[in-house]
């Protein structure tokens, strides 16, 4: 069910945030809120500052102007690349966050096993990251993020390197393990259908410096978001001039 989009307390907010890195202004006057249990997807063309926005939310960079507030008790992230420790076995990679929080070894191994099973890696406990495929590595990264019991998950184009089939599988996992369990999430993607599939709210960011150009609430229950519906909804969105402009006819990005 597409819940969580209602009037709740705002847990994470970016208020009138601008970001300047060196000579470049990356983001300008961005307002963004995430409510408990809400899944927000940021879409937009490459280079519009989506990843920077995520880094702001993660507290990895500070806003040049404006304020970032994060009231979630535990924030975790899945990056564009898996970013696993190549010298640690899969279970130890999943348990990384738990180890950092001082959870005893036995306990964190049990938890890590559980999560490995839930992302479909039950028979690969002792493998090193390079022995796993790209899709598996990304699932390990997701399990690592879930292991610490995060109530807020940041996902930075986590499936952009996967092929269509694996991508579908990974999206399903995120839908079941994150969105439907009421974990709030902020996900960056450049795929409009992916956003429509997983979001309560889709936010289109565009331009240079990037700003929020359009916001779209998705009320369709997750179970009803079929492939056909997704394509239709995406087409519908793309017919809107604002979205269309930022996605398709951006002259600066035509070459890219």
């Amino acid at each position: 069910m597409a819940k969580g989009g209602g009037a709740g307390k705002i847990m994470m907010s970016l208020n009138n945030v601008s970001l300047v890195l060196g000579p470049n202004q990356i983001l300008q006057a961005v307002d963004l809120q995430v409510q408990p249990g809400e899944s927000v997807c940021l879409v937009g063309p490459s280079g519009c500052g989506k990843t920077s926005l995520l880094r702001l939310a993660a507290g990895l960079v500070e806003a040049s102007v404006g304020s970032v507030k994060n009231n979630f008790s535990c924030t975790a992230a899945v990056f564009q690349e898996p970013r696993l420790l190549p010298w640690r076995r899969m279970l130890d990679n999943i348990a990384l966050g738990l180890k950092a929080r001082g959870v005893p070894r036995k306990e964190r191994q049990i938890k890590a096993r559980e999560l490995a099973d839930s992302v479909g890696l039950a028979d690969k406990y002792a493998l090193f990251p390079h022995e796993l495929s790209g899709g598996m590595q990304q699932r390990v990264a997701l399990a690592r993020a879930l292991a610490i019991g995060a109530d807020f998950l940041l996902l930075d184009e986590p499936f952009s390197a996967l092929d269509v089939g694996l991508r579908n599988e990974a999206q399903e996992l995120v839908q079941h393990l994150v969105v439907e369990r009421g974990i709030s999430s902020l996900m960056v993607t450049h795929d409009l259908t992916e956003a429509l599939r997983l979001a309560h709210r889709v936010i289109v960011i565009s331009g240079s410096p990037g700003r929020v150009v359009y916001e779209h609430r998705v009320d369709e229950p997750f179970a009803d978001r079929t492939q056909a519906w997704l394509y239709e909804a995406a087409a519908h969105l793309l017919r809107l001039p604002l979205v269309n402009e930022s996605f398709l006819y951006n002259p600066q990005l035509e070459m890219a």
């Binding site: 992230a77 970013r83 966050g97």
Partner: protein, 298 residues
């Protein structure tokens, strides 16, 4: 049970390993015993060994030929060298000399490895310290070992200390550089991941930095080990009464070329044992993930 056969790329080494379940294996698993496969691997492995052996035998043959050509006063042959090693053994010199040289080389090497690792780690993590220590390291690297020996004899007098000090001073910059580069090259993206997961300092050192640094430090250590043996022998030549270097000094005084050749053989064998019997197996144990990476490519 499943028999897993891991074959190295260059077929120099092969090993058989029995694992309890496929879950634990990280190599290729062969569900049925394929005798033909094992045979071909054995042949491949022995060919690999044979290749190395061929090189050594060729070298020995050239040596023998040179000895026949120039006469065994100028260039004693391999058999003369072995005979004089046998002579040292009978006189009871051999083990004492090996022990003295080994412990000096190892002590100096251990000091240099330990200090270099810690200093290099700190220099890699702190840019300021790195900039301060780098020129010092370059200066140390530029001082010839023979100069260190002279200084060491002046400071510590003749004896083991002079040799150990010289070894430590000459190998320190090598291990330092390895550790520094290792600490400096840790992937920024992994560090960012560590930030997101609030990884505390000790764990960052243990889980992030050290495993990464190990892969830079081991080649440096292997280089340093070679330097350590050579410098030890040289220091012993000047500063001590026993050890392989002292034996060489004796051989020079007695114009005993075969003896000198014998001692050289002893040092080379010691170095090979230290590298292939100790350091490389240690590296394999400490970097199981890297060994797998090699296999994946093969």
């Amino acid at each position: 049970m499943i028999l897993v056969i891991n074959t190295n790329t260059n077929a120099n080494e092969y090993r058989l390993r029995i694992v309890k379940s496929p879950r634990e294996s990280n190599g290729y698993s062969v569900p049925s015993l394929d005798e033909h496969g094992i045979m071909s691997r054995l042949i491949k492995a022995s060919l690999g060994w044979g290749g190395s052996l061929t090189g050594i035998l060729l070298f020995v043959a050239m040596w023998e030929w040179g000895s026949l050509h120039y006469g065994n006063f100028l260039l004693p042959g391999p058999r003369d060298a072995l005979a004089s090693i046998h002579g040292f053994w009978q006189e009871g010199e051999l083990w004492g000399a090996i022990w003295a040289t080994t412990w000096r080389a190892m002590a100096g090497f251990a000091i240099a490895a330990f200090t270099g690792l810690i200093l290099g780690l700190m220099a890699g993590l702190s840019h300021t310290l790195g900039r301060a220590l780098e020129p010092v390291s370059t200066v140390l690297l530029g001082i010839p070992p023979i100069a260190w020996i002279v200084l060491a004899i002046l400071w510590f007098g003749s004896g083991s200390m002079a040799a150990i000090y010289t070894v430590a001073a000459t190998t320190l910059p090598v291990t330092f550089a390895g550790a520094q580069i290792g600490a400096r090259t840790l992937d920024k993206r992994l560090q960012e991941m560590g930030d997101v997961y609030c990884v505390p300092g000790w764990m960052r050192l243990w889980d992030f930095y050290l495993p990464h640094i190990v892969s830079y430090v081991f080649p440096a250590l292997i280089t340093a080990l070679g330097v350590a043996w050579k410098v030890t022998v040289m220091a012993e030549l000047f500063a001590t009464e026993e050890g392989v270097g002292a034996g060489l000094a004796m051989a020079r005084v007695n114009l005993d070329t075969a003896g000198a050749m014998g001692w050289i053989m002893v040092v080379v064998v010691l170095l090979l044992i230290a590298e292939h019997g100790f350091l490389r197996p240690l590296q394999k144990r400490m970097e199981p993930w890297r060994k797998g990476a090699v296999q994946a490519k093969s």
